[in-house]
């Protein structure tokens, strides 16, 4: 729907982002921008997860897996040295259209590898396909079964990237080149490009927010909310609940993969720590504390909590903090901490999450499957 009102926060955010830059520049503290940029990329995962958990009402305890799939795919494709095959016709053809590029790595060595654009496309394609394959059987499951299945998926991804030589085992993949977007703009973690990358990251994040906001206010968004609030009624009104949930699952996986790709190029590397269960749990904690169906809450909390974590504010209690957040939010503030009173639809759906989870899950689990003996 053409409600310009829903874009106001985007404008406000843009202004705040610029303001933050100016403030940091004035305080000669632009090095903070690095962690803000990283946090922004992590927030992409959270936005997608918010759509999945808050709106479609599906749990996922394995979303770090999709982030890792995105990151690792682009890392491997942009660092694999194809020099040995430089004369192969396929390689030469790709090179002529710029999908295979020659560059110099950190050690001055000439490397021939796939271009970041190609890798980006491949990463998204792979993430989407895997999400589809995993989602097809798993989206049917309910409540804790779905949670466990996604957890299992996340674990498998972790084990694969940790165990395979291709992915660098415990060291991960490093030496990942910069991602040249257009002439003059590249995703690169070096200090020289800091300000540029700050804005690149925020443009990507705000674009993702716009897409998410549009979706939520559209017919599909309504359908998702209806599935969440009464799946049976939605089904009877012609909503193909299975397909919608699956599509949202894949979409959220794509969001996560984009974050993974960009952060990998920004950091120049990726490691198995991006695929751990703890990372997945963090994303869930952030969505929960932002208010399940609150996109802006998820974004704010995503950036804030990740920034604090990256800056080491939580010290050795980093994981414990997120664990505690989960407990406290679920006990005392299941609708999250950020209620936006004006956006009625947002906060009321936030309330919906707590109760609708109940409806969807409790209604199914009171059947007598509990025998004991």
């Amino acid at each position: 729907m053409m409600r310009l009102r829903m874009y106001y926060p985007v404008l406000v955010s843009a202004l705040l982002i610029v303001a933050l830059h100016l403030v940091l520049a004035a305080a000669h503290a632009t090095y903070y921008m690095t962690q803000v940029t990283m946090s922004a990329y992590y927030a992409l995962v959270v936005i997608g997860l918010c759509l999945l958990m808050g709106y479609a009402g599906q749990a996922s305890l394995g979303h770090a897996g999709f982030f890792a799939i995105g990151g690792y795919t682009s890392a491997v494709l942009t660092t694999c040295n194809l020099s040995a095959f430089r004369d192969a016709p396929a390689i030469a053809a790709l090179r002529s259209i710029g999908l295979v590029v020659q560059w110099q790595d950190l050690y001055g060595k000439e490397v021939l590898s796939f271009s970041p654009w190609l890798a980006f496309g491949a990463a998204l394609l792979l993430a989407g396909l895997i999400a589809l394959v995993i989602g097809l059987p798993v989206i049917r499951l309910k409540g804790h079964y779905l949670a466990m299945a996604t957890l299992g998926f996340g674990l498998i991804v972790y084990r694969i990237v940790l165990g395979a030589q291709l992915f660098g085992r415990a060291d991960g993949v490093s030496n990942v080149p910069a991602f040249r977007l257009v002439d003059g703009l590249q995703v690169n973690g070096r200090a020289l490009f800091r300000v540029q990358n700050y804005y690149i990251a925020w443009v990507v994040v705000l674009a993702a927010m716009v897409l998410a906001i549009n979706l939520v206010h559209s017919r599909v968004g309504r359908a998702l909310r209806s599935i969440h609030q009464s799946e049976e009624a939605a089904h009877s009104l012609g909503v193909d609940t299975y397909r919608y949930k699956l599509a949202t699952f894949v979409l959220s996986a794509l969001f996560a993969a984009v974050g993974g790709v960009l952060l990998t190029h920004y950091n120049g590397s990726i490691g198995p720590s991006e695929a751990t269960v703890m990372k997945s749990v963090r994303y869930v904690a952030i969505v929960a504390v932002g208010g399940m169906a609150n996109l802006w809450g998820a974004l704010v909390m995503g950036v804030l909590l990740n920034f604090l974590s990256l800056r080491g504010v939580f010290g050795t209690y980093d994981d414990a903090v997120f664990g505690a957040i989960l407990i406290l939010i679920m006990l005392f503030a299941p609708n999250g901490l950020l209620r936006v009173p004006n956006l009625r639809a947002v906060s009321s759906v936030g309330r919906a999450s707590a109760l609708a989870f109940q409806r969807v899950v409790r209604g199914r689990t009171t059947s007598t499957r509990r025998s004991h003996g």
């Binding site: 549009n214 009464s230 049976e232 009877s236 009104l237 909503v239 609940t241």
Partner: protein
């Protein structure tokens, strides 16, 4: 007018040994109001669920306009033009009344994920139409004043009416009403009767499960009686009222 809109043939569904629906064959003529009555546990809601696709029959067929729709999923059945209401109202509790009714337009609209995310201009027109049609129905049913309220805040009778409006928004050919009068007082029931007659006059065929006999007798063209999953009688209301089997089933053996 005389064609059969919906037909079930020898429908069979049991749950672990209990025959909820046993060999039920019913024909619903186009444009008619047909009632399904029977004591509790007779299988009326199960029959609805079998038609609407929530349950799959173990034997038998369901035909809509002569074409088999047996075991079709609920959303596919809805897309054909079969709408339903539920025994316990299933509104979307945290959406407004207007949004609830707008959801009824789902089968008549198209915008999907891509169009939604990109907020393409043609979706604006579609959304405007959706809203307009939903408002029109709310006006028609006298609910316009409530359109901005959260659905779960409404009194029970109003909630039922909203569910009705939502079903109507799908522009159905067949409307399955599961105990629409349950919980309504005598005035609300009379209004309900008028409403059902009104929409029938607009061309919507109605299949109604009901316990309220006065409602059934007043508005139905035909009545089918189920007991313990089986059809025991079918015919015009007056004949059913005098049918010995029906009387026995409702009132016991001493009254036939």
């Amino acid at each position: 007018m005389d064609s059969v809109l919906l037909e079930t043939r020898n429908l069979h569904r049991s749950f672990g040994g209990v025959h909820a629906v046993k060999d039920v064959s019913v024909k619903v003529p186009s444009g008619a109001i047909k009632a399904v009555i029977g004591p509790n546990g007779a299988g009326k809601t199960t029959l609805f669920n079998l038609i609407a696709g929530t349950l799959t029959p173990q034997q038998g067929e369901v035909l809509f306009r002569g074409k088999p729709i047996t075991a079709w999923k609920p959303h596919a059945v809805a897309a054909l033009g079969i709408a339903r209401t539920f025994q316990t109202t299933k509104l979307f509790p945290h959406m407004t009344v207007l949004e609830n009714v707008m959801m009824g337009r789902h089968t008549r609209t198209r915008s999907g994920f891509l169009a939604g995310m990109l907020n393409l201009p043609w979706t604006w027109r579609e959304d405007r139409e959706t809203q307009a049609k939903a408002r029109a129905i709310l006006d028609d049913l006298g609910l316009a004043a409530h359109s901005g309220e959260t659905a779960s805040n409404l009194p029970f009778g109003r909630q039922r009416l909203v569910e009705f409006a939502r079903a109507l928004a799908t522009e159905p050919a067949l409307l399955l009403l599961d105990e629409p009068a349950a919980g309504l007082n005598i005035y609300e029931t009379q209004e309900l009767a008028q409403l059902i007659l009104k929409i029938r006059d607009r061309g919507v065929t109605c299949l109604v499960v009901e316990h309220d006999m006065s409602l059934v007798m007043n508005i139905s063209d035909e009545v089918v009686v189920l007991d313990q999953g089986q059809k025991i009688a079918e015919g015009p209301p007056a004949a059913i009222q005098r049918h010995p089997e029906v009387i026995r089933v409702y009132l016991g053996d001493g009254h036939a």
